[in-house]
């Protein structure tokens, strides 16, 4: 069934929100009243509900099936979290109402901070960043501020970023005014230590390293890397996107990390919502703590206080966002963490890693791995070498998965693997679910190798749409609905 756009079914005079016309009064708008038509169609409630229910039915979701997107950690989103985030005491409080009227909110932020600092072994935290990339910017600004405080602002501008990094890493570093240098990967998919050392020098400000990295591997030389950075007066930024592999198993603070953002929407189960919102608190080492942005919590006589402005003598680098961060996500994350507890979080990491390795061990005879077959962390990386003889691409394979009822894995990322297929099952899948997924992938892989190419190149068939023409979309961008000319 096709579902039109609201602009095709709505009417400007229709509304699904009943409001009485106010009593006549004298406007204070001056000359600025808006008179021209705006162009917004309205729907009655039954129409709106049906429209968006039908749209929703065209989406895949973690609730309906395994969602093996590597580096995205599509885990189960507990429903308790949603209920808690909707308590009026959290959802219906204003960021600028008197702090005396929101002690429980400050307590909650403090609790989330305590959990995150304890899990990472880090002494300080900035809670306000709104998502992962925002957290990266926060951490890199703290680093830049620390460098400036040492009088090295003009000389120390190089940030090392491994080739396998998320695109946000170089983008964030550049945003903050650093220059990015790539660090090559060694044959085992980890940082090439020798190449890394060769890049070091007094102009190096930091390294941005994802650990476990986006090949699903723990950077075993991490302590050496951290030490080397510190030895040249530089800092170690850790991209925490893959923290889900090691919660309760290792603490970034023990590994020499200076700053790391935590994606509450990955590791701590807040829903992805079709693209957001996320939340990206940043834990900081003692040396970076003084530079943390406002607002932050301070324990004072009489309770917690949220410091919204820093004094002139403060080293705080400033402010990242209008208010205090993603409160709604903090509530969900605490609900998740308190539910699991220290033991459950550790178990979750173990299950995530076990499930990824189970998939690896169940597919390694058919599919190729760019860095050989060895234990991975919470995600397993395949490349397209095994697919080469078939003439099919990673994209073809991914689209064929849709017809089998699965969301594809992350494809063509990381860039260090050719035709990458990055599979992250998370800890939320039962063994039966993993077994079915494995059987499906084996079946598809064998079909590909048998030369059944038609099953792939035309895929997907059993989806709301066949393959979409992305080139057309980009060549002549149609980014909003416009009223068709009358025929």
């Amino acid at each position: 069934l096709e579902e039109p756009l609201i602009f095709e079914i709505g009417r400007p005079e229709t509304t699904g929100v009943d409001l009485d016309e106010p009593e006549p009064f004298e406007s204070r708008l001056g000359v600025l009243e808006r008179h021209s038509p705006i162009g917004l169609p309205g729907l009655s409630e039954p129409e709106a509900v049906r429209h968006y229910v039908r749209l929703s039915q065209k989406n895949y979701s973690i609730d309906a099936g395994l969602y093996p997107l590597g580096s995205c950690t599509m885990k189960h989103n507990p429903r308790l979290n949603e209920a808690m985030a909707r308590l009026p005491g959290f959802a219906d409080i204003h960021p600028l109402q008197p702090q005396s009227t929101v002690p429980g909110a400050l307590e909650l932020i403090g609790e989330v901070a305590r959990w995150l600092m304890t899990l990472t072994g880090m002494p300080a935290i900035a809670m306000s960043p709104k998502a992962g990339a925002h957290g990266e910017a926060c951490g890199m600004m703290a680093i830049k501020s620390a460098i400036a405080a040492k009088g090295e602002a003009s000389t120390r501008k190089i940030v090392l970023v491994p080739e396998s990094a998320h695109g946000t890493n170089p983008a964030s570093a550049t945003l903050i005014g650093f220059d990015v240098r790539p660090v090559p990967a060694g044959p085992d998919g980890r940082v090439d230590l020798q190449a890394f050392r060769a890049l070091l020098g007094p102009e190096v400000a930091a390294i941005m390293l994802t650990n476990p990295n986006t090949c699903g591997l723990f950077e075993s030389d991490i302590v050496e890397i951290a030490d080397a950075m510190h030895a040249v007066g530089a800092y170690f930024y850790c991209d925490g996107a893959n923290f889900n592999a090691i919660v309760g198993k290792a603490r970034p603070g023990d590994l020499g990390v200076d700053a790391m953002h935590i994606n509450l929407h990955k590791t701590f189960s807040t829903p992805h919502g079709g693209g957001g919102p996320g939340a990206g608190p940043v834990v900081l080492s003692r040396r970076l703590a003084p530079f943390a942005p406002a607002p932050f919590l301070r324990q004072e006589e009489g309770g917690l206080r949220l410091v919204e402005h820093t004094r002139d003598d403060s080293q705080s680098f400033g402010r990242m966002t209008a208010f205090h961060g993603q409160m709604g996500m903090f509530v969900r994350a605490l609900s998740y963490m308190a539910s699991h507890g220290a033991d459950g979080l550790r178990q979750a990491s173990e299950d995530a890693v076990l499930s990824a390795n189970y998939i690896r061990a169940s597919l390694n005879d058919l599919m190729s791995q760019p860095f050989g077959d060895a234990p991975c962390m919470h995600e397993v990386l395949f490349d397209d070498a095994w697919l080469k003889p078939t003439g099919l691409t990673t994209l073809d394979f991914a689209k064929a998965m849709i017809d089998e009822g699965y969301h594809p894995m992350t494809i063509y990322f990381p860039l260090v693997a050719h035709g990458a297929m990055l599979i992250e099952p998370t800890e939320s899948e039962s063994k039966a679910s993993l077994d079915l997924f494995i059987a499906t992938l084996r079946d598809l892989a064998q079909a590909a190798l048998r030369g059944e190419t038609e099953r792939f190149i035309g895929a997907p068939i059993h989806a709301p749409r066949r393959r979409l023409d992305e080139t057309r979309a980009a060549r002549n961008p149609v980014l909003k609905w416009t009223k068709p000319a009358p025929k």
Partner: protein
């Protein structure tokens, strides 16, 4: 543990397939002396009931906006959200899906984004809008950086009527990038002469409407000066409902429009998550930050939607990207779109009118309180009052009387000698009774 489906037997069987005898064998790539061998010093797992109790106890210590007369604004606004909005965004298929990188099975999210982009463009009277930013303040700095890219200049002028937190975000990032920022002092009457500040190095002027003190500003003249000087006019707003009644930035010549979309469809949430709106002229499209959804056709020629122009984005362009943003405010944008679809043009206009009427009524009542002065010539649903005592202490006293009466200017501009000013907002949720309660409490507080 209720969220972990694997049983001990499953784990054993899986370890066997993997070929190791214990789970820690899979963690051996972590340096041995860094591996944790026991639980961290945190509570152990808890029953759902116990977690519910823990969080409910915290929540119950906070005074919810809906529990009494409430007039706090200054960048976030209490509005009524239709019950169907929350029902719909909680649908599993919206709530638990990822960014729509596989468009064939994400048409629901994509079509909703396309509707969102169209709504935002219409509201702001601009050509194109993106799929959302984190919030209004981060959208503002993105707009400044975009202006720098377009003009190849590096100086931003910030109006004294711009929300001070927005200004501070711009200054913070600009300090890092080495760009220049000229921030004008707090402009209570909304009378500053921004045009006079523009010079040949000026990349953009950022001005808010209604401004943070509530004044409405006719920006047409400023737009003309900007154009003449080769600078871009960035117009920000914090109250999206105002666009139903107040001339749109696009109608006054804005080049980039940014704003906070929380008012439509999103709860106060103590400041987040919110949804940043971002719109611009077509000619600047390729310098725009953030995700975009575009229309296309599928292999059978049916209309469909995809993420497009992603060569601007970090996951393709890396350090050359127009922004580092990845996760945005997808679900908040969906809430915005659903609420706006329910309102429609007629509903939005009426909602805005009620907001304005309520604010006018409140202003008229407050100005009759001895010693209290309403400073605005014009306003939408928020205005500034001068009180004869310290505003912050007064606000606390009113809170004790059950009225959350507004934001003391000193909270936003500490040390700027605005200690006797309060920003007061009134929306459709305020009843006549609420406004009377405010006046009564205010009189009481001032007389003691």
């Amino acid at each position: 543990m209720r969220y972990l489906p694997l049983t001990p037997e499953d784990r054993s069987a899986m370890l066997a397939r993997v070929g190791v005898d214990k789970i820690d064998a899979l963690f051996e790539s972590i340096p041995a002396n860094k591996r944790l061998s026991r639980n961290l010093d945190l509570p152990l797992r808890r029953a759902e009931m116990d977690v519910q109790r823990l969080l409910s106890d915290m929540a119950s210590k906070n005074r919810a906006a809906g529990s009494g007369p409430f007039f706090v604004g200054a960048g976030a606004y209490k509005h009524h959200i239709p019950a169907s909005v929350d029902h719909l965004i909680q649908r599993s298929e919206f709530l638990t899906s990822y960014t729509p990188y596989q468009p064939e099975i994400a048409q629901g999210t994509l079509q909703a984004i396309f509707e969102f982009q169209t709504q935002v463009a219409a509201l702001t009277a601009m050509d194109v809008a993106n799929a959302s930013m984190y919030d209004g303040s981060t959208a503002t700095i993105e707009a400044v950086l975009m202006a720098h890219r377009i003009t190849k200049r590096r100086k931003a002028i910030l109006s004294g009527g711009l929300h001070p937190h927005y200004a501070e975000v711009v200054r913070t990032i600009s300090r890092m990038t080495g760009d220049e920022v000229s921030s004008l002092p707090p402009d209570v009457p909304g009378a500053e002469n921004l045009g006079a500040e523009i010079d040949a190095g000026t990349s953009c002027v950022v001005v808010q409407n209604p401004d943070v003190f509530g004044n409405l500003r006719d920006l047409s003249g400023l737009a003309a000066i900007c154009k003449a000087q080769g600078a871009l006019l960035i117009v920000a707003f914090t109250e999206a409902v105002s666009l139903g009644l107040v001339k749109a930035p696009g109608e006054m010549g804005a080049d980039i429009v940014v704003g906070e979309g929380q008012s439509i469809g999103n709860s106060l949430n103590f400041g987040g998550p919110y949804v940043g709106l971002f719109a611009t002229r077509s000619k600047y499209l390729r310098q725009m930050p953030g995700r975009l959804c575009g229309e296309t056709l599928d292999a059978e020629g049916r209309r469909g939607f995809v993420l497009t122009l992603s060569t601007r984005e970090q996951h393709i362009k890396r350090d050359k990207a127009t922004s580092s943003i990845c996760t945005n405010s997808g679900l908040c944008a969906l809430a915005f779109t659903i609420h706006m679809s329910l309102l429609g043009e007629a509903g939005l206009r009426r909602l805005a009118k009620i907001n304005h009427a309520n604010a006018v009524d409140l202003a008229d009542r407050l100005r009759r309180v001895p010693g209290v002065e309403v400073l605005n010539q014009s306003f939408f649903n928020e205005f500034t009052v001068r009180v004869p005592v310290r505003a912050d202490a007064l606000i606390e006293r009113l809170a004790e009387k059950g009225v959350l009466a507004g934001v003391p200017a000193s909270r936003l501009w500490p040390g700027e000698s605005l200690d006797d000013l309060i920003l007061v907002a009134s929306s459709e949720v305020n009843t006549d009774e609420d406004r009377r309660a405010f006046v009564k409490a205010l009189k009481g507080a001032l007389s003691c």
